[in-house]
Amino acid sequence: METGFFKKLINVIVTKDDERLSDKSDVELVNLYTNKGDESAFDEIVTRYSDRVYGFALRITRNANDAEEVFQEVFLTLTKKLDTFRAESKFSSWLYRVTANASYMYLRSQKKHESNISLENYYPYDEKGTLMGKIMDKDWSSRPDITIFSKEALDIIDKSINELPESYRAVFHLRDIDGLSNEEVANILEISIPAVKSRLHRARLFLRDRLSDYFHEWRR
């Protein structure tokens, strides 16, 4: 009886506390940490953004160990530099930018070289502007969901995204996986909106081709 009561009491206190922090906006959390040194506010920021920071770092570095280095670097930087965040920009955009910069810096320091496939002139049509007659043959769009969303297909697309050149990879990840707008992506990567659109366009064409080859060759 008594233990039951205490458990309930503890639950009430813990839930109340959690609700309070998870209800707070990003900016409120930032202020709590920078003005009052509230570490649980910082913890909440970590919880809220861990997957997005790590996922984006993994996309750029393409390696779990490297991604973890960047991930740690980002939050460590945050403990010191959170006060340089200005509320006129969106916190998530700012954090993505910190992550992008940390990832690129890390890659440079490791001298990891990049794939140099060029996508600048990547399109499926011929010089007359017609599709070459290979798309319909490989049409996989009416395959059952169980095939299309199989783990294997998801792995293939994930691997194919990692074959994209660095700048296309970053754009594609933010736009089509994390679901940000063209404006946000342009802002984070400090490129123009037309550049975002053009990279996203080529990246999607490349990935659609990759998937078609996969379904055509392996999953008849």
Partner: protein
């Protein structure tokens, strides 16, 4: 004349419903007549559905999270 090329180059705006009415009509007329483009549009849409699923992939394992926690603890020492 509206070509396959025009379908390909307008596909993003088409998916996002950002085409002007004239272009939209021409695009849909072309894909109605051209099985290649019809297949292109359908597979393109399906591809976006697949990549959308990648969002649900969990990234940070409890181990990764824990190592971060330890690291932060060791670095933020009260002065």
């Amino acid at each position: 004349m509206f070509m396959c090329k025009d379908v390909v180059e307008n596909i993003m705006e088409y998916i996002d419903s950002e085409l002007d009415l004239q272009t939209l009509k021409e695009l849909e007329k072309h894909t109605g007549d051209c099985p290649e483009c019809k297949a292109f549009v359908n597979t393109y849409k399906r591809m976006l559905e697949i990549t959308g699923k990648l969002k649900d992939k969990p990234f940070v394992t409890p181990e990764v999270r824990n190592r971060l926690r330890v690291l932060l603890k060791s670095k933020i020492k009260p002065v």
